[in-house]
């Protein structure tokens, strides 16, 4: 055997994924060509096919990896039992996770339709699992009397939209630190869920 360590593949593979991510986010999946990705990495288009079977797999791996990362990271969080504390915890987690991955969040939202039917279903199922987390969280707060919302299902969808919004405008080097962002969104969501002023 030749080229075990010191091989380029260990560096070229991730670089292709990274280039695909950035280009898909900036120009859209359909508008990006394999040659553009290759040029960004510094290889010829043919070389990409040593690392992915086709363009579709390149997109799917990015989205599926993103959702797996999200679910795995949440599964090891230590979530408080108290609904209000749990809400704060979720808000902080969701904001932190999403703000650190603006490109992945963006393409996960808007390149779903470019997935094949099978790949689409895989991603949607993972998303459904995540939505269930916040839904259950709201339900437990309503049951305990800590939250006051007219419709937990709608509120959970609204909350995700609210908490994902900052991805569009938050900048790490902006006038707002991520800590301040979290504090403000904790207050905002508490108000939105009708948590009484003290606590």
């Amino acid at each position: 055997m030749a080229r075990k360590s010191g091989s380029h593949s260990e560096i070229t593979g991730p670089r292709i994924k990274q280039a695909a991510l950035e280009l898909f986010a900036r120009h859209g999946f359909a508008a990006v060509t394999m040659r553009q990705i290759a040029a960004t990495v510094g290889v010829q288009a043919g070389a990409i096919y040593n690392y992915t079977p086709d363009k579709q797999a390149l997109l799917f791996d990015l989205l599926d990896g993103h959702m797996l990362d999200l679910l795995r990271k949440w599964s090891v969080e230590l979530v408080p039992i108290d609904p209000i504390a749990a809400l704060d915890h979720f808000v902080a987690f969701h904001l932190d996770f999403h703000i650190k991955r603006p490109e992945l969040v963006f393409i996960s939202y808007m390149e779903l339709r470019n997935l094949t039917e099978i790949n689409f279903k895989v991603i949607v199922e993972k998303r459904r699992i995540y939505e269930k987390i916040i839904h259950n969280l709201i339900l437990s707060g309503v049951t305990s009397g800590d939250f006051s919302v007219p419709d937990p299902k709608i509120t959970s969808l609204a909350l995700i939209a609210l908490l994902t919004g900052p991805v569009d405008w938050f900048r790490e080097d902006g006038r707002l630190t991520s800590d301040e962002l979290t504090r403000q969104y904790c207050a905002l969501t508490r108000q939105a869920l009708g948590v009484s002023a003290q606590a």
Copy 2:
């Protein structure tokens, strides 16, 4: 002259726009071909060029028309002076306008990057004007003491994200009527802006 009235152009033109809108929304601007649009309308690809100079203009006209429509419709609204009533009015207006045009809202958010630089600036400027409306509305409520928010600028951005979210999931024939949706989102935004419980 021949063919003044009874001309096909009066019907084909709008049909091309409509087909482009639906296809752009479903598959993305870059993924849609002129031949697909033509086939949807029932003409050959070449015929489209009687109605638009190129594919780019097709996209721009949709987005610019959408923003013009939004700003014009708001400009003739009779907005209450009282900040809380004005907020309710804005929430109802924004939800109603956006829910009725899910495809336009979707492509306005995600096809911006496929505009040429000049066209991009035109749309972003119109969007800025709209954002200023809700920003000023919040500022007036904070000044009057009706609202309690830590940062009006961030809150205005969060509010737009919150109020545009339903476009993704609201269905006219779903279990929620648009009136109920409006009522719930009025309550949700009041809570989010810290409006005290009575009123």
